[in-house]
């Protein structure tokens, strides 16, 4: 995917507001043509600011942004080959849907006949054909968002920026819209850069995700890599559910590190660590098995009492608390209609997983 020059290149970009707020802190990343790229992070981590700098509404305090190889520092927002779907959708309330979609063409002097044709085409694309005559206040939230999408796409930008496009929709519609956006991106072949604080959204839609915290990019990777190989405690904790244990390096042999965790004993797993340094050991809830009897020696195991069971339909989360008060969450798939020996609160069980399914985190 990384052939040719990146469509967006962000180089050591920092954005400060006043003296104290550093919204974006020394970010460098490349976004390639045709990618579905996600900026993911908790609220306030600087995602919107980064997006607005790409769109040209904010100027970087330091660093450089290149779009299609061109330095954007002197280029006004209305001259950039990109378009944005705003968080509030920003549909013009006094114009009809068709006028909204045609607006970007009208102000750049595209002939009237062509405007009508392209606007109609764009409305078809977002499945709003025939609604061109309506006013925005006659539309639902989801439809207004489609207007915002059509309005941006009609300009045929090189990159489409989307700021939290799904956050205002209800759960059902949000899921449908995730698929819809992916379909749309395939249909038009435009690079999408989406901002979200919802990890599920990012994981299900994007090819690559940049996870941000406090204005910095913590990890940039495809979804599966991010999920299975988070590179720090923050990413591990932010993406999906994770059991985190604090441990110590007890020895290093080649590619493997021998770690010691209180209550879990010693085991080795692949990774890097400093001799006798503090490390984090992480394991996903679905990698943990529940056993009535003591598991084999080659499994990492800890005994505890079931403190809570949360049923989610397709799966259940079982929370097991061990002697030291740590709670380990275990994800069980509800594969059969009736789960045979049901786990109930108060059961004494073993939690066990293969050492290789756990992850060594040094930061």
């Amino acid at each position: 995917m990384a052939e040719g020059q990146p469509i967006i290149r962000i180089r050591e970009v920092t954005k400060r507001f006043g003296q104290t707020v550093t919204a974006v802190d020394d970010v460098s990343l490349d976004i390639h043509e045709g990618e579905f790229f996600a900026l993911l992070g908790p609220s306030g981590c600087g995602k919107t600011t980064l997006l607005r700098m790409i769109a040209g509404f904010e100027t970087p305090s330091e660093g450089q942004i290149l779009i299609d190889g061109q330095d954007m520092s002197k280029v006004a927002p209305n001259r950039r080959p990109i378009n944005m779907v705003f968080q509030s959708y920003a549909v013009f309330p006094h114009m009809t849907v068709a006028d909204n979609v045609g607006y970007g063409l009208k102000v750049t002097n595209v002939p009237k006949a062509e405007i009508r044709e392209r606007a109609e085409e764009a409305l078809e694309l977002v499945k709003l054909g025939g609604l061109g005559g309506r006013k925005p206040d006659q539309l639902s939230g989801g439809q207004r968002q489609r207007v915002a999408l059509a309005r941006a796409l009609v300009k045929r930008p090189k990159v489409l920026l989307l700021d939290e496009p799904l956050s205002a929709l209800d759960a059902k519609l949000r899921e449908a819209m995730q698929l819809e956006l992916v379909r749309l991106q395939h249909a038009v072949g435009i690079t999408f850069v989406i901002v979200t604080h919802d990890q599920n959204e990012a994981l299900s839609m994007a090819n690559r995700i940049a996870v941000m915290e406090h204005g910095k990019v913590r990890q940039l990777a495809p979804p599966s890599e991010l999920y299975e190989f988070p590179n720090c405690r923050f990413v591990a904790d932010f993406i999906g559910k994770m059991n985190l244990f604090e441990g110590r390096v007890a020895g290093i042999s080649g590619e493997e590190v021998l770690v010691e965790v209180k209550g879990l004993g010693r085991f080795s797993l692949p990774g890097e660590g400093e001799a006798s340094g503090e490390v984090g050991i992480a394991v996903r809830p679905e990698k943990v098995r529940l056993r009535r009897e003591k598991p084999d020696e080659d499994m990492v195991a800890v005994r505890g009492k079931v403190s809570e069971v949360a049923y989610y339909g397709g799966s259940s989360f079982v929370y097991v608390t061990d002697d030291t008060g740590r709670t380990i969450s275990v994800n069980l798939q509800n594969e059969a209609r009736t789960a045979e020996p049901g786990v109930t609160i108060g059961d004494e069980l073993w939690c066990a997983w293969k050492p290789r399914d756990s992850l060594l985190l040094s930061t």
Binding site: N78, Y89, A90, Y103, V107, A152
Partner: protein
Amino acid sequence: MSAGQGAGPAGGGKRIVLRRREAVGPLEYTRRWWMRLTVGATFLMLYAPIILLVVYSFNNSRRNIVWRGFTFKYYEKAWNNESLIEAFVNSLAIAVVNTAVATILGVLVAIALWRFRFPGKAAYEGFMMLPIVIPEICMGVAMMAFFARIGWPTGLPWPLTLSNIMIAHIAFSFPFVAVTVRGRLVGFNRELEDASKDLGASEWQTMRYIVLPYLRPGIIAGALIAFTLSLDDFVITFFTAGPNSVTLPVKIFSMVRFSVTPEVNAASTVLIVITVIATVLAMRFQSPSRRAGGEEG
């Protein structure tokens, strides 16, 4: 259902009708007698003089103290009173020019205060709003002194004789336009502006196609307020008007000094009607329903 009417199988069961008066809720002010009384008294105090004024403009009595029958005579008389009509034309001319200039100025001020950050902005904003709070009499004296001091030319041809009154009116009425427009700008979603530029529009196009259409109800309301203020202003006009530039309120005042004839009532009634119409229109343009319709999005 007729079962309850006595023909039911239960046989002769008497229907108990409970029609207790519901208790007055804490927020049902209209159902409390003292509240109604207060409201009624307030309206009476406010409107009784005006209603009397209008009614007595139809009084067929020169001395206009007791009712002597209905007539349109004094409207006719007022219409034929050349100096009264001249004053009325003056008033309209001043109001129209004032409305045009004050509206443009007020909109520009409102946008400048909303759009830009500049040193001394707070002070500027305060000074802009000063004419709203300064006592009119002070404003009038100040205007008179000012025009006398700079030696504003007198004896100019017609519309120009009114120029100093126009300037005075513009000075005190444009802040009202600015306040009205500013109020509407508060609800403006700035992402609309960003979206417009993002779609390729220039600053000017954004102003023309997005901001101004959004502001239109506020601008119209502000213009109507400026019109009303100018049309019925007495104090400031009185101090700036020369012998050849008499406006309707000033003229009415001078007529009252001799005697309150129904002619005065008639002229005042016309002024009231124009003012009320303008005010009602202004309120309609500012109404919440129009606002909601304008900015939902």
